[in-house]
Assembly symmetry: C2
Homo-oligomer: 252 residues x 2
């Protein structure tokens, strides 16, 4: 090492901290371009890989986002609020409204892509729905976009014999959506369980959601039950964690 660089802390961390301080102080605002690899090499007298490492810290913490050929930019965080309980109140979807319309604050959440297929039930889904592993399920997948960016992947599983012949097996389920149709089939969902996890995305998920590095996904697995406790739907959702705040309101 040339100079008297003394601190026990790695160089790239010191550089990363200086950058983070500049971001938090407001010197760089969301959307601004940060100093690039070449700038950092000059400013701090380090090799390219070390400058890269420093910028990598900010990306892996979700503070910055690299755009190939353009630079590294400060990310903005403008999440949608998703109300997990009110949104599923029966008077909402019972009235013919889409569940999803309750979510948005002026921005539009649109369905990008829909598929409906029939498959043998995956083992964990079969276990929840109380099916045999060779029973078939109706699988509905949807992708939702907000401001042109995909933010939510949804895969819904329903027992094939329950929904056979209903609009649930078509792309457009009609007013009120799947739950209104289930009610018409005598399987009205009245109780819900949502399980929430978070982890880093697989490369496939990062691709589908166009996630920059450093963005986790939130996994929501919802099970819908009828009044006699029968599970009638399992819905696995993958959310861009930077796009969502989940809210649950309840009484003691």
């Amino acid at each position: 090492m040339v100079g008297g660089g003394s601190a026990k802390q790695p160089k790239y961390q010191r550089i990363a901290e200086a950058l983070k301080a500049s971001v938090h102080s407001g010197e760089y605002r969301p959307g601004d371009r940060l100093p690039g690899e070449n700038d950092l090499m000059d400013t701090y007298g380090v090799a390219r890989m070390t400058a890269r490492q420093a910028l990598g810290v900010l990306q892996s913490e979700g503070i910055a986002e690299a755009r190939k050929g353009a630079g590294v930019f400060v990310r903005d965080f403008r999440p949608v609020r998703r109300r997990g309980i009110q949104r599923l109140a029966a008077d909402r979807w019972g009235a013919g409204q889409s569940i999803w319309s309750a979510d948005i604050d002026s921005r539009e959440l649109l369905v990008d892509h829909v598929t409906v297929t029939h498959q043998p039930a995956p083992a964990p889904v079969a276990a929840i729905l109380g099916l045999d592993p060779d029973d078939t399920v109706c699988v509905r997948t949807r992708r939702f976009v907000l401001d042109g960016k995909p933010v939510l992947l949804s895969t819904s599983y329903l027992p094939a014999d329950l929904v056979a012949g209903s609009p649930i097996t078509r792309e457009d389920t009609g007013p009120g959506g799947t739950y209104a149709r289930l009610a018409e089939l005598g399987a009205k969902p009245v109780h819900f369980r949502e399980e929430i996890r978070s982890r880093m995305p697989t490369s496939t998920e990062a691709d589908d959601l166009k996630l920059p590095a450093g963005t986790p996904v939130i996994l929501v697995c919802r099970t819908a039950f009828t009044d006699d406790g029968r599970p009638v739907e399992v819905n696995e959702m993958t959310l861009d964690a930077a796009s969502y705040i989940l809210e649950y309101d309840f009484d003691a």
Copy 2:
């Protein structure tokens, strides 16, 4: 390039995918050591930095965990289930039980460290509690450990004038915890709101929770309301995402 390596995919991604496949196929089980940098350099004929990059993919996806001087190991995922609604049922904490005891599946969740201080209310907390920014709040911080590993940081804010003189200002709040004491003070919490987000941890959080690279945190912000709608507590929790599944049960 020496051989006929043709694919458009970067080398480090191909190596990473091969490793991931081996993990998913069960060739390497949780806790097993993966091939190290030197192994990959030999096997694939790449430079050290490329082998590092490949291992970095698995770490940043939360599949593997590096232990300095030892190797890179397959991580195991054994989360605790936290029931967000039942756990706050009044008959639980009303009966003198700790809220946290409902969480565990045989493993023990212990409080590691407790602090109680008084501070001016941080702006966002003041806004939620309806305080002036210069009003003081009682701040209770706790760290919870599971199997010796810290999994949850909790910071609770209460209006200082409300809790003055009560056991809430002491480290040990007594049977039933803070909520039982609030009830005795005529500020019984009956309604709760939990807001959930996820992001990558700051370096401080990663340190406090001893998080390996590639583990996000889940942020739960709970506000407790009395029956007349007055907010009496804001509790900001930071969870190791690899240690928790959150569950919410509710009716339509």
